[in-house]
């Protein structure tokens, strides 16, 4: 008798160029972030050279006005960016997907109330919300920034999940599954989540990029990670005063930021193609 492998993975699909580049950019960022846990070129907090040195073999991206190595700080900034992106999307996804699924099942009135609330939340500027949360907490910290961005993302994710789940719940296969005795929680886990995942995952990747930018903005305004944690936003802000004498200090964190966000967007694009087995067939 042949054992049947029902759980086998899908056959490898031809990956798009977008996915490859996206994976490379994000992968590089992750690798650098992990590396900083064990090793950095110099001590990020203490001077290791002269002030505002130009790029050299010793300091590839030069030094800041306190003589600290820029490359080291940008590398640690990558870690901060990843923590913020991952944390915010994790919070946003867990709250958002739960709320969205609940809204899809809710009665008409409750659903309308939730939809309206979400629209108001989404209309509220993310940065303003984040600044309020950070201001309300005792001190500016990375975690209050992550929480604030996560909440903003959860509203967007909830609205998307609600629409997607409603569409899936109208499908015949949901009724077919119900007639064979599947409970509602079973239907959600087996049919609704897998069917909305391709679209959701793309949105998560996009939100990740937006969260990274938002954190940089907060740090630029002095509301993000407090000084010992390097953040690209704060590096940009510090380099602002010396942008004419040492432009590298402003350009380098900017490039790192753009590379991660573009990488995430390309990854989102590529993910969409991989997530859907019906893609790629002739239509």
């Amino acid at each position: 008798m042949t054992a049947l492998d029902l759980s086998a993975d899908r056959p490898a699909r031809k990956h798009s160029l977008a996915l490859s580049i996206g994976l490379a950019l994000v992968g590089l960022n992750v690798a650098v972030a992990i590396l900083t846990l064990f090793w950095t070129p110099y001590d990020p907090l203490n001077a290791s050279g002269g002030r505002l040195e130009a790029p050299s073999l010793l300091h590839w991206v030069g030094t800041d006005r306190l003589g600290r190595d820029y490359l080291t700080q940008i590398m640690i900034g990558a870690r901060t960016a990843l923590i913020v992106g991952t944390g915010a999307v994790a919070i946003g996804a867990s709250i958002g997907v739960t709320l969205g699924i609940l809204a899809a099942f809710a009665t008409r009135l409750l659903d309308d109330v939730m939809a309206a609330t979400l629209d108001i939340l989404i209309a509220f500027p993310t940065l303003l919300l984040a600044m309020l949360v950070v201001a309300a907490s005792d001190s500016a910290s990375l975690w209050s920034a992550i929480l604030a961005l996560g909440l903003a993302i959860s509203a967007i994710v909830a609205r998307l999940t609600r629409i997607l789940a409603k569409r899936v719940l109208r499908q015949d296969y949901i009724i077919a599954s119900r007639t064979s005795g599947t409970s509602w929680p079973g239907v959600v886990v087996r049919h609704v989540l897998p069917n909305i995942w391709p679209t959701l995952s793309v949105n998560f990747a996009l939100q990740f990029g937006l969260a990274v930018i938002a954190e940089a903005s907060l740090s630029y305004l002095g509301l993000g990670a407090p000084p010992p944690n390097a953040s690209w936003g704060r590096l940009l802000q510090e380099a602002q005063g010396t942008v004419y004498t040492a432009p590298v200090g402003a350009i380098a964190p900017g490039i790192a930021l753009v590379a991660l966000v573009i990488g995430m967007n390309l990854l989102a694009d590529g993910l969409r193609d991989v997530g859907d087995p019906t893609r790629g067939r002739s239509r």
Partner: protein
């Protein structure tokens, strides 16, 4: 013995509009019955009411006793135990009745696993997989292993409907509800699916509620038929009586229409 399904005074309405009014019929164990009528006559509403799956904004009154249990007004947890054990449904559109992102084998495995767990207390993966292949074989699908590993969009429409039937059979229901199972298929595939359904119903001894607007199709597979129009039952009886000697004008029109169509087909020689 009491009937497997007994519907008494079933009325389905939504927003002040009555979709089915005062409908009564019963189906005994192993009996095959047809519900016939044009679109919007309340056929599918009746079927969904039997499974207790009508949306919340549609109100149902009357009584539906399925396998000795009242369906109308029963809570969902209660109904879940009934669904799949007492009834299973085959739908009209075979593409949308299957989850596009789940392999066919996996979709059939779920009801099988639930049934084995219910009957034997546990479901071994090997036993489930064997049963899935058995079912695919039973509905005459070639290369069951290949089909089990395929996604719904990778097989043909007729094959998808066979898969949907296999899913319904996986529950070993006492009553199979077939809601226009051949309407979306081409004529040759229709005939094959009908033969398959007919054979399976006879072999397993389950009851069949067959819903269709197509007289010749209904006449092929059921013993008794009920004609519905605008949610009202016009007449009911053995297939030969109702179609051979219709007592209601509407039924006569249906029979005439089918005959004219048959003759037209005969003239073109197909």
């Amino acid at each position: 013995m009491s009937a497997l399904l007994s519907v008494q005074g079933l009325t389905v309405s939504t927003g002040g509009k009555t979709l089915v009014s005062d409908l009564s019929f019963s189906i005994g164990a192993g009996e095959r019955m047809g519900l016939i009528g044009e679109s919007g006559s309340g056929k599918s509403m009746t079927a969904m009411a039997v499974t207790g799956l009508l949306p919340g904004n549609i109100s149902v009154s009357g009584s539906i006793i399925l396998d000795c249990q009242e369906v109308v007004g029963a809570d969902d947890r209660h109904l879940n135990r009934l669904r799949g054990v007492a009834t299973a449904v085959v739908f009209q559109e075979p593409l949308t009745a299957l989850d596009p992102l789940m392999k066919i084998g996996k979709q059939i495995a779920e009801p099988v696993r639930r049934r084995l767990a219910r009957e034997q207390g546990r479901a071994m993966r090997l036993a489930v997989d064997r049963e899935v292949l058995d079912l695919l074989d039973k509905v005459a699908l070639p290369q069951p292993e290949r089909i089990a590993n395929a996604y719904p969009h990778e097989v043909s429409g007729g094959q998808r409907q066979r898969v949907a039937i296999a899913m319904a059979l996986a529950c070993r229901p006492k009553l199979l509800i077939a809601d226009e199972p051949t309407t979306a298929l081409d004529v040759t595939t229709q005939a094959e699916i009908l033969r398959l359904l007919d054979g399976l119903v006879r072999e397993t001894g389950m009851a069949l509620l067959f819903i269709s607007h197509d007289l010749p199709v209904v006449a092929q597979v059921v013993e008794r038929v009920m004609v519905l129009r605008d949610g009202i039952a016009l007449e009911e009886g053995a297939v030969a009586d109702v179609f051979g000697n219709p007592s209601h004008d509407y039924t006569q029109t249906l029979v005439d229409a089918a005959r004219v169509f048959d003759e037209a087909l005969g003239r073109t020689g197909s």
